[in-house]
Symmetry: C2
Subunit: 696 residues, 2 copies
């Protein structure tokens, strides 16, 4: 700022400073992430300025969160606000620091100055004087670290030769007290009208009877003749008394160009506590040398990059991380990776669909942990774990949500420890845990147990109803039966992952049997199968009499990471697919991918099976079976009609489900033909690997 | 125990109790896991007994860690120990609780009794009287929870009609004081000789001149005639005075069967403070009814299942978990899953090769975390992280070793936080962390930086030398160059994992170029390629001027889980392969899998590439290139000859490596033929996805 005594000859101006509030960069980050992506076209922004009303707010052009064109009405919100007169600006944000440094600052400044010159020449500046003060920001926003580097310019014409200052004095000294009173009143009216309050350039006309009026610039011609004093007023943002503020520079250029005046009386309007203050306001007389060859084509030189200590451009930088709530910061950081995916890789990714989805994880073991961790990565926040087990000492090295401490003293419940860990990893998570065993068919119970088992059935049903997606991640086949049935009944997305010793299987269940009659043509559209659709035996007790190494945990380490990651990626594709749960199964090997070509994330298969033995992986397709013990219409109808008595029969009578669905008959017929049915009870039966036969 | 007054007619015996020490089950767990696996054949064990020497140790047959046949010499270690006279036993451990309950206890007891009867009939019992006292344990060992259920039997014949007791008195009352003195001295000698100290059945012969001698049973005939008193002595484990101890039962059966005696004088030998105690010792007279039809075929009935309160068999159980050091418990639990894999799935798995391997992880980001977690699961304990970054707020949801807390206040160094977390997950881990950046080619440095960059090169080289395996998990291509070179130079196993947006690549590097001249025929054996073998450009600065979304973290969540799991499974196969780093690359699609058919874990490919877009995955094979900028003989020789000056040139001069390896010439030639070289700098360049072209 120029505070030294000016020479009588040269008129100097107090330069503007930029005051970029954190909210500006905060909002810009959102805009960049959510809408702009890699698009680095300049965007129109709005700065805010006003007459100086306090030394502490002096001389600033402010940028706030309202400066950005977030919505269509954003420019309207600031209109009519007396302390936030809009100043049009432009923001050049680059995608890399290298591009930022390579920007041609002189050209950019010149381009903005040209706009002002054009508006002066066209007369637009008379209609809307706000365009006389433009500004320009160049920036590099590092959204990963919340740090922002930027430079601001306030383009101003460098008149050649420069204007000189004849005199400058407080307005109260210039006007007679009667005039001053009238000027004050007129200014007050101007500032109080929402039509004029943010019009920063105006005429002050004082008639010979000391009556003052404030007029629009475009009324200059009309003001000629009948006035005693005619001053060019403007909102001076600066509280200093030695020089007028920066807006006068382009104002003089307008005045000289438009009206060819050599002597200009100007009025630096300032306020105090919201009222015109003629002691603070200044009146000055400037002499302008007319340039004969001036035209629309010969734009005066311009200056205006913000300087520090009047010397050189200083790269400004701000890091929001220090001032932000750490949890909000973390949430933003986590969103970042997802939003960056939209920039180039998957522009159509619907992130909101992920944020809001509620996932129920049945099983918080090796698979449950991996599924939860991948859900975290995909931005999913609502996760409910169901598990009745406690953290055993062998768990933490394979179950990535637990630590040694969780396993000592008998172990914390997994459903409790998993919730605690998710909050530790990311405090914005909304996890919950339910310690509960899943009732299983073919595991007979005593009559005393009936009430509690049925209560568990009810609880599971309620949980499934209140979630959008159910992951089946338990360690037995039979514990997946009831959830499979309930998902088919409630038409919820079910994703199933299961491990063999060195192989894995991930599948999504089709829609429930009753979903089709509503909105789809049943004959045209076959449902996708569920986990039990290709079984010829009903699920029953598979746990009794298994040796240690036949239990589920004897798998190659790492299998669960693969299966868990695939399961979540499969879910994400379902959620992003227009048909959702009804999406047909794509097959990578078939050239005709059906109606799913438009899925932004690639194909959406029904099943994925792979093995770390030969590192193979393939997608498979299996349709729903009419004899399925979990998802067939027969079973669902029976469940709906008979409720608890159906459940108890399925739990207590191993053959009930087979009888109900006709599997018993099917098996008899098959045996009579002497087919080689796979025996589910052979020694090599690996529950999770072998029980999902597939029809291609 | 029978403490009531016995009827004069029936001789009752104080039953033995089992005292199974924790060490027994501890050692058995190891034996089961490491050697037996699912083999549930009965195994020979040894119990320990001795004459009662203190009421508190009375009447016990002890089982300790020495009871198991761990090594060939285990039965020898206890031989000659006066307080641990070996008793032969047998252990039936079942693999499931159901099998345990189904065991036919009567038959098992009978089988052991038959052995004793056979030894009596064959005369073996005279040569080695220890076989008169056998025992039997049936158990179910739940190795997951360290709980053990078991029942012990001490088979004893039920003579019909039973023997009757004429009198029973302290030995000091029975012998004259002179005789007693001599008997004491003779017993002391017997007990002090390592040849006889653990022979629990013997003859006490007292001549008419009151001189006593202790003789072997087999000398019974020789003792006839010259003795005044001849008693059947045995180590009585019981301190009670009303009845003789359990060993006398089978002893009487032997005596009756062998020598057809009706009146038997027996001597219950007991000690006090290590010396014979004739006040404590008992002498009794038993009457045995001879059975005329007795033969080898007509075995007497047997009893002997351990009873509690003389009433019923009580299933004993012990849980070691409560008394074990939690960290040791955790370590055992973790081993369990691996050892269980050996039982059935991969009997040839060499777990020790995994325990001892030292892994260097270059990069502790998304991939580094997943690799470390999978290594944990595979039992690998020595992990060193190299990373110069700090935990950012966006990291914890994707980098599974970090929490929110690690990211606040600027973030902990990843190499530090990862080490801390591994210890929290599993205290037996031996992780370490190095905060260091990896010098990169084509990233010129100033002369002031040279010393520190060269020190980093040296440090990296030392780290690679001191580890067995190097994982390349950094987020740029060029940071993998120096480690690739150093691994080729030191002939270390290098495993490389890299992510694209929705695709992943995992590969192992071949052996170094200098390894072949030594032990293999160079013309016959081509080396496998490294990460840079198929590039036609040298690695150079790829980080400058990349937009946020072009950086490595913009990948589908879950990709790193898959790639990390595959990378570790690939390593495990290399470690288990007889040729290790020199193993050829298998291909799943080729029917001829070369010399790797015997790999217990399936095929061992060179590269695996996959995508979550179409859920495909395949294995690939690429040979080493003579023009490779990282592993070719040209480059390795140059590095060995020129050392630091070579490194500086590679770092500072982007074209140096291409000139050196002839890539420059190759490119010129190619350009002159107007081939469509893939441009590494196109917009769609995805570093991690595209730069590993593969020759099939």
């Amino acid at each position: 700022m120029s505070e030294k005594e000016t020479s009588p000859a040269v008129l100097e101006f107090n330069p503007l400073n930029s005051l970029v509030q954190e909210g500006f960069w905060d909002s810009f980050s959102s805009l960049k992430l959510d809408k702009l992506g890699i698009d680095d076209s300049p965007i129109s922004i709005t700065g805010f300025c006003g007459p100086c009303s306090h030394p502490r707010g002096s001389n600033y052009l402010r940028l706030s969160s309202e400066s950005l064109p977030l919505d269509e009405q954003s420019s309207i919100t600031s209109h009519g606000n007396r302390n936030k007169c809009p100043v049009p600006g432009i923001l050049y944000n680059t995608n890399t620091l290298e591009s930022f440094h390579k920007l041609d600052k002189q050209s950019l400044l010149k381009a903005e100055a040209n706009k002002i010159w054009g508006d002066i020449q066209s007369g637009k500046a008379l209609e809307d004087p706000a365009v006389l003060s433009r500004f320009l920001v160049i920036s590099f926003a590092d959204l990963k670290t919340w740090s922002f580097r930027y430079l601001v310019a306030f383009p101003a014409f460098d008149l050649d030769p420069p204007a000189s200052l004849v005199e400058l004095k407080p307005a109260s000294d210039y006007f007679s007290s009667q005039e001053a009173e009238s000027v004050s009143a007129a200014c007050k009216d101007w500032r109080n009208s929402h039509l004029t309050t943010d019009v920063p350039f105006f005429l002050v006309s004082v008639s010979s009877d000391s009556k003052a009026s404030i007029r629009h610039l475009k009324d200059w011609e009309a003001c000629q003749g009948d006035h005693h004093k005619l001053l060019f007023g403007f909102y001076d943002p600066c509280h200093l008394r030695n020089n007028p503020g920066w807006p006068l520079r382009n104002y003089l250029a307008l005045i000289r160009s438009r009206w060819n005046l050599e002597t200009v009386w100007f009025f630096c309007y300032k306020e105090s506590r919201g009222f015109p203050d003629l002691n603070l306001s200044l009146v000055g007389q400037a002499l302008v040398t007319l340039s004969s060859g001036e035209s629309a084509e010969t734009v005066p030189n311009s200056v205006g990059w913000e300087l520090h200590n009047k010397e050189k451009q200083v790269l400004q930088s701000i890091n929001l991380a220090n001032s932000m709530d750490p949890i909000r910061l973390a949430a933003s950081a986590v969103d970042l990776n997802l939003k960056l995916m939209k920039w180039r890789a998957v522009p159509s990714l619907n992130i909101d669909a992920l944020y809001s989805v509620k996932c129920l994880l049945l099983g918080a073991g090796t698979l449950g942990c991996e599924v939860a961790r991948t859900l975290l990565g995909w931005g999913i926040r609502k996760i409910t774990f169901v598990d009745y087990g406690k953290v055993a000492m062998s768990n933490p090295v394979r179950q990535s949500l637990y630590t040694f401490e969780d396993s000592i003293g008998g172990g914390e419940f997994k459903a409790v420890a998993a919730v605690k860990r998710l909050k530790e990893v990311f405090p914005a998570m909304e996890p919950s845990g339910v310690v509960m065993a899943i009732p299983m068919p073919g595991h007979p119970i005593s009559s005393q147990e009936e009430d509690s088992v049925l209560a568990d059935c009810k609880r599971l049903s309620d949980l499934i109803e209140s979630h959008d997606v159910v992951f089946l991640l338990t360690d037995t086949r039979e514990s997946r039966w009831l959830p499979s049935l309930l998902c088919a009944n409630a038409n919820k997305i079910a994703v199933n992952a299961a491990l063999g010793f060195d192989s894995y299987m991930v599948m999504r269940h089709g829609a429930g049997p009753t979903s089709l009659s509503d909105d789809m043509n049943k004959t045209n559209k076959q449902r996708l199968g569920c986990y039990f659709c290709n079984d010829v035996v009903a699920p029953q007790d598979s746990m009794t009499d298994r040796t240690l190494d036949q239990q589920c945990t004897v798998t190659c380490p790492g299998l669960a990471s693969i299966a868990g990651a695939l399961a979540v990626n499969l879910l994400v594709k379902v959620l992003q697919h227009p048909l959702g749960i009804n999406a047909k199964g794509d097959n990578s090997s078939s050239s005709n991918r059906g109606d799913n070509d438009d899925s932004p994330l690639g194909i959406l298969p029904h099943q994925i099976r792979g093995s770390v033995s030969d590192f193979s992986q393939m997608t498979l397709l299996g349709q729903a079976s009419d004899s399925c013990t979990a998802c067939s219409e027969t079973v669902i109808s029976e469940y709906r009609e008979r409720g608890n008595s159906f459940l108890l029969e399925a739990i207590n009578h191993p053959t009930y489900l087979e009888d109900l669905t006709g599997l018993t008959e099917l098996k008899k017929a098959a045996n009579s033909f002497n087919l080689d049915w796979e025996d589910d009870d052979t020694d090599d039966d690996d529950d999770d690997d072998d029980d999902v036969a597939v029809v291609m």
